[in-house]
Every structure is written in C-alpha cells, then in structure tokens.
C-alpha cells in the first residue's frame, strides 16, 4: 500500500507540470489561443482570499462533478492549481481521466505565484446574511454569485411609484438591486391602495416616494432608495439622470412623461422597460437605445387628448399592474444580468379578461425623430400637461 508521499510522486510522474514563471507568461501572452484557463481547486476560503485573474473555481471535492459544466471543451488548455501544487496534481490526474487533453499542474502553486508578485484578483464575496437571503438566486446557474453581485451593484430608476412601480420596486428590492431611484410627486391616496401594493393604509397622505422607501428598505436593508419627490420634467430630467442608471423602469401615467423618458434614455443610452395598463389590458416591452426600437418608433405621436385613454379615468383591474409590473421587474433583472432574451423589439399585449398574451414585432424606424438616422429632435421638448392642452411634440 502506497503512502501519501509515494502516491503523490506517482501521480506527479503521470501528469504534466508548468512553472510559475511560464504559467504567468502564458496567461499574459498576446496570443489568446496561448492563454490557458486556470482552474482553482482550493478550499472556498482560500479562493476568497485571492486567486489568479480569470481563474474558474471548483473545489477539489466537486471537481469531477462540476468541471464539464464549467469547461465543456476538453481540448482547451487548462492550468490547475492549489496552494503548493500537490492537491492540484491529483486534480490534474482526474481531469486527464475525464478526457481533458491539455492539462498542466501549476507545480509550485498559488503561494509561489504570490511570492513572485504576480497579479491576483480578490473576489468580492457575499456576506453570510446575503448568502442566505439570496440563496435561491445563487442556486440558479444564470444568476449565481457573479449575477447576484451584478444585481447588488445595479442602479435602477423607477419612474412612478404607482400601479406598475409598486410590484416592480418590490421585486427589484427583494432581488437585491443595490440602488433604486424612485420619481413620483404624488402622495398616497385611498384610491391607490386597490393596486399600489408598495403603500399601505397607514401611509395615506404620505409622499409616495417616502412610503415606498419605508416599505422597500424594510423588505431588504441591502437596498438604497433614492427618492425624487417631483414630477419628471424637461427641467429636472438631466439632474435626475445624472445619478447614472443602468435601467429605467417606466411606469408613468401620461404621454409627456413617456416621451420625455424615451428621449432622455436615447441620449443617455439607458434601456427602458416600458409598461402601460388600461382596464384589463397591459402592454410591456423593452426599448434598448439604438439596438432596437424606441417609444417614438412605436408611437410616433400620441392620440389627440380627447381620445387619450390615460386621462379618461378608464379604471384598471387591481391585479393587472401586478402582472405587468412584475414582467417589467423580470426584464430589468435580465438586462442587469445580461441573460436571456429581453422584450426588445417585441411588444407583449396581455388581456386579463381573456387571459391571452399576444406579441407583435416592433422595429426601429430609421426615420424616427429621436433615434433615427437623421434625428430632428435633439433637445428636450417642452411638454405641456396633456390632459389640459394638446401635446406639443
């Protein structure tokens, strides 16, 4: 029966090794094909204290289980490492047995890498509380720890803390979106509570942005709420957008704000998750500046005021904004994660009466006055109150 030393020596004889200096040269090679993928097989706490830049992590214990998911291409050159080159020697042998063709063991390990003063990456790690709070995200391969960090770093601006903004903000806060800006000038009214679930009866008369802030911060202390207790106008839009936002969730209730959000988003290059509701019907889509259509490509001009549904007090089924606002939150998260297919270029029409979902294609209009090839609108238009006077575009 071989002892550990003997076994290690036998394994080392069966594998290929690479020195620290040579591995570093390969990592920094100008030829991408030359650059191997580093596989870190140490314990999680060792990884968290720092690792080789660009390395993937899988602890030695689960290496065989996980490596094919992490590295499907078995011809890809790999450098396996641990702290001193011993654990990784066994890992390199296992990878060879799994069919990986170009596996090298970093002979002197990560300790020697650090001793040489080579660059290391110290990963940002979630706290124990965050690990627990976001555990259901961490379990999803498309989110995982990297995705959750992206969510925590994200900044989302919600225009409107009403029917659509309520569910959208609740789910985005629950998901851990680090900064949520909320623009709304109104106070909580009794007639809001049939659908605006971020508010509550005890908040009647309170500014909606402050009511939402209390609810959302109580839901998730990781989230910072930036309240803008004002109506979005051409005068304040630049100041509000100066915060730098990754995504805008548009849940406004009037055309001037819709067009204002659109134009600002094009000029700032911020994607807009657009939702609108009326009675039993909702529309939802994503406007990705210059990659897809914008709101003006879809609706070059609003209906005349007397035909405009937003001012008609048409009513809305309370649960409808819950559905549409939740879809908006879903789209916002996908934009943050850069995962999946967003609704860019597609407009979903949800009919709550028939429980049907229709989809139409929306294309970028090369003649669009804002995002087209020769835009005619290049500055904010002074919009007027739509319900009182015709909208001037």
């Amino acid at each position: 029966m071989a002892g550990y030393r003997e076994l290690l020596a036998r394994v080392k004889a069966e594998i290929q090794e690479i020195s620290t200096i040579e591995a570093h040269e390969r990592l920094t090679s100008s030829e991408p094909a030359e650059r191997p993928l580093f596989v870190d097989v140490r314990e999680p706490d060792e990884w968290e204290e720092g690792h080789i830049p660009g390395a993937v992590y899988t602890g030695r214990g689960r290496l065989e289980q996980r490596i094919e998911g992490l590295v499907p291409d078995k011809t890809r050159p790999l450098v396996v490492y641990c702290s001193a080159g011993n654990r990784s020697a066994f890992a390199a042998k296992a990878l060879g047995e799994l069919g990986y063709e170009n596996v090298l063991n970093l002979a002197s390990g990560f300790s020697d890498w650090k001793r040489n003063g080579f660059e290391i990456t110290i990963p940002r790690v979630l706290s124990a509380d965050q690990r627990s709070r976001y555990s259901r995200h961490l379990l999803i391969p498309e989110v995982g720890e990297d995705g959750q960090q992206r969510i925590l770093d994200a900044r989302v601006l919600l225009v409107g803390a009403g029917g659509l903004g309520s569910p959208a903000s609740l789910y985005l806060a629950a998901a851990g979106v680090g900064t949520l800006g909320i623009v709304d000038a109104d106070v909580v009214d009794e007639s809001n509570l049939q659908r605006q679930v971020v508010h509550s009866t005890e908040r009647l008369g309170e500014p909606k942005v402050l009511s939402a802030k209390r609810t959302l911060e109580a839901l998730n202390p990781d989230v910072r709420i930036v309240p803008f207790q004002e109506r979005l106008t051409s005068d304040n839009v630049e100041r509000i957008l100066a915060g730098g936002w990754d995504v805008i969730v548009d849940g406004a209730d009037n055309f001037p704000t819709r067009y204002l959000v659109n134009d600002a988003s094009i000029w700032h290059g911020i994607p807009v998750v657009h939702g609108s509701i009326f009675r039993f019907e909702g529309q939802v889509t994503v406007f990705a500046p210059h990659q897809g259509p914008c709101y003006r490509c879809l609706f070059p001009q609003p209906p005349p005021p007397e035909l405009a549904p937003s001012c008609a007090e048409g009513g809305v089924l309370g649960v409808l904004p819950g559905i549409i606002g939740s879809i908006q939150a879903n789209e916002a998260l996908k934009l943050i994660l850069e995962r999946g297919d967003t609704l860019a270029g597609r407009l979903l029409l949800f009919d709550a009466l028939g429980t049907t979902l229709d989809e139409v294609t929306v294309r970028r209009d090369p003649d669009c006055p804002v995002c087209g090839d020769s835009p005619s609108i290049t500055d904010y238009v002074d919009y007027v109150e739509f319900c009182n006077a015709p909208l001037q575009l």
Partner: protein, 90 residues
C-alpha cells in the same frame, strides 16, 4: 376575412367586443369596413380619411408601417391588431 383584435380603448365603440371579423383586401379596406359598421370608430381610426398616425396596425404581428402601410394586402384569415398608444401606469 380578417380577425381584428379590438383594444380596450376602442371597445365602447363596438359594443364591448374584443374581436371582430372584417372584410377587405388591404389594411385600408379592413379599416373602412370596420368604420362603416361602427361609425363611432371613425375618429379613433381615421384622420382625414386615412388611417390615423396615432393608431398602430399590426398585421400578423408586423407593423404595417414597416410593410406597405394602408395598402398592405390582407390575406384571408389574417389577424389584425389595432393598437393605440396607452399611457397609464398608475
């Protein structure tokens, strides 16, 4: 014959119906057929006798403005979605 989806903002003009069948070989003819049968739709769908620019018409999922506009041929059995802009969010 085309199946036309009536948006909620226009349902009052057609007696609350969500879908209507309409005749016509082009988008313009289909809209004319609707307006003829439901005159209240005229100001919602037409402007100076032409399909109004504030109403989007999707033929089998495509915006007719990206096709041949009001002259776009409509096949038998096509689905048409009329879509005026809605602004409500609160």
């Amino acid at each position: 014959m085309a199946a036309v989806r009536i948006p909620p903002t226009l349902r009052a003009e057609v007696g609350g119906l969500r879908h209507l069948d309409a005749r016509g070989d082009t988008v313009a003819e289909v809209i004319d057929d609707l307006v003829e049968r439901y005159p209240a739709l005229e100001r919602q769908l037409l402007e100076d006798g032409e399909p109004a620019p504030f109403v989007n018409v999707f033929l089998d999922g495509e915006d007719v403005r990206m096709l041949d506009g009001a002259d776009t041929p409509v096949r038998d059995g096509a689905t048409i979605i009329l879509l005026p802009a809605m602004a409500g969010g609160l």
